[in-house]
């Protein structure tokens, strides 16, 4: 009896431990292999239920738009409740992975185009939306075809593009005039020449803030597209076949090095993107490579001084002479939303996304937060500014989107590029070092995906 009493606490402890440990199966096995619900995705006759949605648009500038659309949908459909959760850009990457691993994905979730989206597709977590948003469907025809294609995998559509984003080199017209740069540089060599003139005139030719690595990667995205033939690029960006042996990759790094040496500074790794941008806005720098979704900060409405707001224009990063790749490609991609393949409310989720991307809400996106919508005809003179409309026209002329290098490739390759290019900026790595690192990362990625 005495023995039993003494061991009682241990028995209780053991039981608690057993319950706790029993809660854990092999990682990620819960629901593994489950397939998409075979329910129809066409709009439900009776709209009711609760939709869960997670976005990465917690920024106070952007969050109200998504809250407003959700509220408007709830008002139009009183039996529907939308639980909208918005987190920041970086925390979203953590949160969505935790939700995926714990099989608690919301009905609708944000995704970048490229390998980030493909991870959900490969894991069976993204609903096949081809039947409702394929290029030949009624809804699909309302989108720019390039935007739809960015979320296409093996000929199937898995995402609803929500915005259009492309990378441009904005320039200060006053600085160009003062430095004697006549006309917009049409080749990379012209751009480097213009940088020399701007430097002589006392300007920082290009403002770059690369504290977190991604701004330089956007240059590499464009330069890779210019220097490597599209078929080779597609093969290498696929983790199952990537090798990165084409000489164009080394050329691209060399060209980036030229840009740093003649147009920017080896100190750029110590400057944040925002601090770099401030140098352009306050007129110290003559050019700045930024996304079209950032254009608004260069306008008077966005807080830029009149001296810049009235005197800026933009161009694509010029292609090098004799480039072997696609000189019509444009760095950028739409962001989008995916629907959880296991969602019981998939049809309702699709209906809400149709509402979010109708003509009225697409125009509201441009008017409220200055983003271009992938919905055709949504940007007009009344809801946007001239540069934004010009960007939309230019995007439509692009032969294809060169999707961000850090999201289109496997994470191993992306990291090799990130750390390698930082080394190029501070002068500690050569182009050969970078590409060797990338090749090793590609070999590792190939092994990972089998």
């Amino acid at each position: 009896m005495k023995h039993t009493t003494r061991s009682a606490p241990l028995v209780v402890l053991g039981a608690v431990t057993a319950v706790a440990l029993a809660a854990c199966g092999a990682p990620g096995t819960a629901g593994a292999g489950s397939k998409q619900n075979s329910q129809s995705l066409s709009s439900p006759a009776q709209k009711s239920g609760t939709l869960t949605m997670v976005t990465k648009f917690a920024d106070p500038k952007y969050a109200p738009y998504f809250q407003g659309v959700a509220k408007a949908y709830e008002q139009a459909n009183p039996k529907v409740t939308i639980k909208l959760e918005q987190v920041g850009d970086q925390p979203y990457k953590d949160k969505i992975r935790v939700l995926s691993a714990s099989k608690q994905l919301p009905d609708i979730y944000f995704s970048w185009a490229g390998d980030f989206a493909n991870k959900f597709v490969r894991a069976g977590l993204a609903a096949d939306l081809t039947s409702v948003i394929g290029p030949d469907t009624e809804w699909g025809k309302t989108f720019s075809p390039a935007a739809l294609k960015a979320f296409e995998t093996n000929g199937k559509n898995f995402g609803v593009p929500i915005d259009l984003d492309a990378k441009y080199l904005a320039y200060n017209k006053t600085a160009f005039a003062k430095a004697g740069v006549n006309g917009v540089p049409s080749t990379l060599e012209d751009l480097l020449g213009a940088c020399d003139k701007l430097k002589a005139a006392g300007y920082t030719p290009i403002a770059l803030g690369n504290q977190y690595g991604w701004p330089a990667i956007h240059y590499m995205t464009q330069l890779n597209a210019y220097n490597v033939p599209p078929a080779t690029l597609a093969k290498d960006y696929n983790p199952a076949t990537g090798e990165f042996t084409d000489p164009g990759y080394t050329k691209a790094v060399d060209q980036f090095k030229d840009i740093i040496t003649r147009c920017s500074s080896k100190d750029d790794n110590g400057v944040s993107h925002e601090a770099g941008q401030a140098n352009f806005i306050n007129g110290k720098a003559a050019m700045h490579y930024l996304e079209s979704v950032e254009f608004q900060v260069l306008t008077a409405k966005g807080g830029a001084p009149k001296a810049l707001a009235d005197n800026w224009d933009f161009m694509r990063l010029p292609a090098p002479q004799g480039a072997a790749g696609d000189t019509g490609a444009l760095t950028g991609a739409p962001d989008g939303f995916m629907v959880n393949a296991q969602s019981k409310n998939a049809a309702l989720a699709v209906d809400f996304l149709k509402f979010m991307t109708d003509q009225q809400n697409a125009a509201k996106l441009t008017a409220d937060i200055g983003w271009l919508s992938p919905v055709k005809g949504s940007a007009t003179a009344s809801n946007s500014f001239p540069q934004l409309q010009a960007a939309l026209t230019d995007i439509s002329k692009a032969s294809q989107f060169a999707i961000w290098l850090d999201t289109v490739t496997n994470a191993e390759v992306a990291n090799a590029y990130l750390s390698g290019i930082e080394g190029v900026i501070d002068g500690s790595k050569s182009s050969k070092d970078v590409i060797t690192g990338v090749q090793q990362a590609a070999a590792k990625a190939k092994k990972q995906v089998g």
Binding site: T5, R6, A8, P9, V12, L13, V16, T17, A20, L21, C24, A26, P27, G28, T29, A32, G33, K93, D94, I96, R97, V98, S100, A101, K119, F120, R122, A123, G124, L125, N210, Q211, Y212, G213, S265, K266, D267, D268, N269, G270, V271, S272, A275, N279, A411, E412, N415, L418, S419, G420, E422, G423, I425, D426, S428, K429
Partner: protein
């Protein structure tokens, strides 16, 4: 009340804490150990058992070793500043500074400790800015242009700059802890030493240092553990860059888990951090068992 009833009653009191500890401390530790034996990520359909492969990867990974070295340097510098300098600072405050001024100085030294790490990180990013930062401007003003750097942007200076910021933030906090310990020393001891002709420096080494030994041990343990768990400072200021030069174990773990989608490897790194901090904790137990000075 019989013994059995007493035992059950005492168990009822400690059970909630036990359950919380099991669920939120011990279960995650065991689970992390188990997960480190798999190759898996958040999107894995079928995790693969790989035995000790993740640990082999870690030991062959140069960035893992660089991160460990950075943590070790962080710990050594923190020991010198947050234990050594902080104790001297506390002794000087108590010995030489007038009582009114003492309060003001204590507050000044303590203020950085109450500033959010994110705010402090952003503040120092501005100070270290190569173009407009105060550090480079000051160096330029005194003719030391050759010492100017892109402090957070060069592999050779990034980690040191982060460590410096961390010392600025923490030294006041540990100094205040030492002040409290020094104030508990009976004044008779210092007076007796004075009568024996001991000067301020002699009294510091012969009276103050031995009498604050328990606090020194505690702060040493906290400082070393903190140095191996450091994460926020690095994430805010460099995110481990440039070229992974400022990676620490915490940020390398995070990068592998949430950006490289290699949760198994991240779990192995977490186990290494656990082993190191556990060893430091065990050391604390051994040291604290030594004979205490009592009065």
């Amino acid at each position: 009340m019989n013994t059995t009833s007493m035992r059950w009653r005492s168990l009822a009191w400690v059970l909630p804490a036990m359950v919380l500890l099991l669920v939120f401390v011990y279960y995650p530790i065991v689970e992390n150990l188990r997960l480190s034996l798999f190759s898996w990520n958040a999107f894995s359909v079928r995790p693969t058992f790989v035995g000790l492969d993740n640990y082999r990867t870690a030991f062959g990974d140069p960035i893992f070793w660089r991160a460990l070295r950075n943590n070790t340097v962080f710990a050594i510098v923190s020991l010198i500043c947050q234990v050594g300098f902080a104790l001297v600072l506390a002794a000087v405050l108590e010995e030489f500074v007038h009582q009114r001024l003492r309060g003001i100085l204590r507050t000044i030294y303590f203020i950085p400790a109450v500033i959010s790490i994110t705010v402090a990180g952003i503040l120092f990013s501005f100070l270290y800015n190569p173009q407009i930062g105060l550090v480079n401007r000051l160096l330029g003003a005194v003719g030391l242009e050759s010492w100017q750097h892109s402090w957070l942007g060069e592999p050779g200076t990034a980690m040191g700059s982060i460590i410096a910021m961390s010392q600025w933030q923490s030294i006041g906090y540990t100094a205040i802890l030492f002040v409290v310990a020094i104030q508990r020393i009976p004044s008779e001891m210092h007076e007796a030493a004075k009568v024996d002709g001991a000067g301020a420096v002699r009294r510091f080494f012969a009276v103050t240092v031995p009498m604050v030994r328990e606090m020194t041990t505690l702060i040493t343990i906290l400082t070393i553990s903190g140095a191996f768990l450091v994460f926020n400072e690095v994430m805010v200021m460099t995110a481990g860059g440039p070229s992974n030069s400022s990676q620490v174990l915490g940020t390398w773990l995070y990068r592998n888990a949430f950006l490289n989608d290699d949760m198994g490897y991240a779990s192995a790194i977490a186990t290494v951090i656990f082993v190191i901090t556990l060893a430091v904790g065990a050391l604390q137990i051994v040291v604290s068992r030594r004979r205490r000075i009592e009065w």
